[in-house]
Symmetry: C2
């Protein structure tokens, strides 16, 4: 038993990640680094918003946060500049195989993206169906429509077919791993 | 003595803040709220970057961060969109009465602002001399020049006179308290 245990663990780990890359956040960080190094775009993930309650200052060492809480984000995770345009998006993963449940995105995030688009910025979501290893780009106007459908009694999710029809499939590539700016180009015209 | 004590405290407090408003961060948050509500611009302060080490999940209540550390920010504090343009800036206060010491800003933040400006965005710093209650806007190109002067053996600060010559004084107003977009307008032409 003792001999088998580590092997089993290793086996499980290999299987669970075999046909997938890294997770979406890591793929996006790699892609944004790629864009930054190549002077293509300057896009960063925002830090997680935290409510800090207690901080200790031990002598001769860095301040230690001893009590803090996660806050609901006011905006989206990513923003920056590309070809002079303001870029703003949220990225989400789902294990669901047929649709993306809209309770994964906060209402004020959808409204934020909608306002960005009204101001002349480029707003969108990147949604990955992890089980299918499919990653889609969906522009904020369409997201807003689907969200409103849910709010007015319709289905509270976006089906995979709707992503295929109204979104853009982003192929996995080597570097950048998720070349979403290629899709942004379509909207910059 | 017991009777005088609270009065003294009150007096001290009144004096120390009498001819100043709130601090710069609060003034900027109020101004950004004002811009947001009036559909003028969508500009947010980014959360403070934190390295989270330990999180507790007490039953039936929110996750509590029990150990975390402050990280050096990769970028600046504020960014967003105004008149279709990408806006990016850092805000700093100094108690100094004659100059702004450049060690208040990280080198990579200056380089970030310089890159933003090269990409067609609007980058700048807002510096407040708290003792004088003077708030200046300085565009990123000028900031970059002054920073390089310090790096190549020159003075490692920007004098008040240089702010008056190369920057723009932002008057305190009621709402927005710091109407910095008026200065941005000069650079959007």
């Amino acid at each position: 038993m003792k001999i088998n245990y580590p092997t089993k663990k290793l086996y499980k780990k290999t299987v669970s990640t075999s046909n997938r890359g890294m997770n979406l956040e890591e793929d996006l960080n790699q892609s944004n680094d790629h864009y930054l190094i190549n002077n293509t775009a300057i896009i960063y993930k925002k830090p997680v918003p935290i409510q800090i309650v207690k901080v200790d200052y031990p002598s001769r060492s860095a301040a230690v946060i001893k009590e803090a809480y996660f806050k609901v984000p006011s905006t989206t995770d990513y923003n920056g500049i590309y070809k002079g345009k303001y870029i703003d998006f949220e990225a989400k993963e789902t294990k669901n195989k047929t649709s993306f449940p809209l309770n994964n995105i906060h209402k004020h995030q959808v409204e934020h993206l909608n306002n960005i688009s009204k101001m002349g910025g480029i707003g969108f979501v990147i949604v990955r169906f992890t089980t299918l290893d499919l990653t889609f780009y969906l522009e904020s106007d369409k997201l807003f429509e689907f969200y409103n459908r849910g709010d007015s009694g319709g289905r509270k999710s976006i089906s995979l077919d709707e992503f295929k029809e109204y979104g853009h499939l982003i192929k996995n590539t080597y570097s950048p791993r998720i070349d979403y700016l290629k899709i942004v180009d379509l909207y910059i015209e």
